[in-house]
Amino acid sequence: MASWLLRLGVPLALVAGGGAPSMAQTAGDDPVKRGEYIFNAAGCLGCHTESKEAPRLAGGRALKTPFGTFYGPNITPDPETGIGGWTDEDFIRALREGRSPDGTAYFPVFPYTSFTHLTDQDLRDLKAYLDAQPAVSKPNRPHDVSPPFGWRFLLPAWQALFLEDGGLPPEPGRDAQWERGRYLVQAAGHCGECHSPRNFMGAVDHDRMLAGSADGPEGKPVPNITSDPGKGIGKWSPGEIAFLLEIGMMPDGDFVGGGMNEVVENSTSKLTAEDREAIAAYLLTVPPGG
């Protein structure tokens, strides 16, 4: 099934509200172009840009969680207030191990527990894309987190408990489409960060991966997207899931909100039709869990 709008000659840029449709991740020899695709797949824009009117990627977006309010940092190439001057190795350490160039641990509101599964190539391409964006001088806003969650010195212990870095484990008997779908959902898209329940220490409950959360961002419920036919999306067709990811429509004609519309606009509508189909194929195999 091709993307309906593209098949009709409607460029996705129109649907996504700007930006040319990206190349497939495997295509092209321009790392910046490839990196743009990863950037969209990971939806970096949302958390790192304060508002639609604010300077792009210069940080300041508030994310309310049960542990306090975090503010996305500046990830423009500005050397003083952004990530200018980082080496590729600095960048890979940040996304894979959750540590800044000076060794300080990041709060897991930055979803490095998902990004840790991104390939080296994808991380380097993503860095090339970010390096090519305009630098903006805007100091980071300190997080507003209640104790003990705001105690940064505890984070290495949290990481030792809950960060399983490295690639996704091999699953014998799965085809390439499923593998790609899993990579997009679990690594780049970090869907489980909002769609899964967390334990009292704020770690995603892997036994109930994607089974929904009563306490998502802004303290609002986030739906179950496992294959559960009653509570999840097990009754949806792959085409219905792909269409939601393309324009945000649910099978009953309703349109998503609650932050998911932003995900569609910034991220899933900018993927290739094949990648949206891969996500659908993978989600329909996720066990109910909840």
Partner: protein
């Protein structure tokens, strides 16, 4: 008097108060009308009407998507759907969101308090849908599938953008 009877009395008095307040505001005239959103005489009925208007638009979008995706929809269906969207969308800001119909004010509401805290922004979001619905109608009259698909996407974006900011689903 039973507790239920007491409650009913309180509700009846509240309704009378609210209605009187409404009449009073009307009598005073325009003073404060811009900053004070009006309240309704029967919030539960408004919520019901709102949900049915939203559902009629959802049904229309479902019907139109069947044409856009080439899954058995017809241009005639698109025209009917676009007409339903136009009809419902024009009522949103003027009458479907009185200030006493938000979450916490009335059971079952999915309308976030931000609607009344940021009323001009909400009005803008509603106006965007009205425009998109009109454009979809024009495209449906023209009968060009790509143009219909484009406007369908525009309507969808208006729905989703507003839902992101102003709706909190119950489940």
């Amino acid at each position: 008097m039973s507790k239920i009877g007491q409650k009913q009395g309180i509700v009846r008095n509240a309704v009378i108060c609210v209605a009187s307040a409404g009449i009073l505001v009307a009598a005073i005239g325009q003073a404060g009308a811009q900053s004070q959103r009006p309240v309704s005489a029967d919030p539960a009925a408004v919520v019901k009407e709102r949900e049915s208007a939203m559902k009629s638009m959802g049904d229309a979008m479902k019907k139109i998507s069947a044409y856009v995706k080439n899954e058995g929809g017809t241009v005639e269906g698109v025209r009917e759907g676009a007409a339903a969207i136009r009809q419902a969308s024009q009522k949103i800001a003027p009458s479907l969101f009185p200030a006493d119909t938000g979450i916490g004010r009335i059971e079952g509401s999915e309308a976030k308090p931000e609607i009344w805290q940021q009323w001009p922004k909400f009005e803008q979001a509603a106006a965007r849908l009205v425009t998109a619905g009109n454009d979809l109608s024009s495209a449906a009259e023209g009968g060009d599938r790509a143009a219909i698909a484009r406007q369908f996407a525009q309507v969808g974006q208006s729905c989703g953008g507003c839902h992101d900011d102003f709706r909190q689903k119950k489940n």
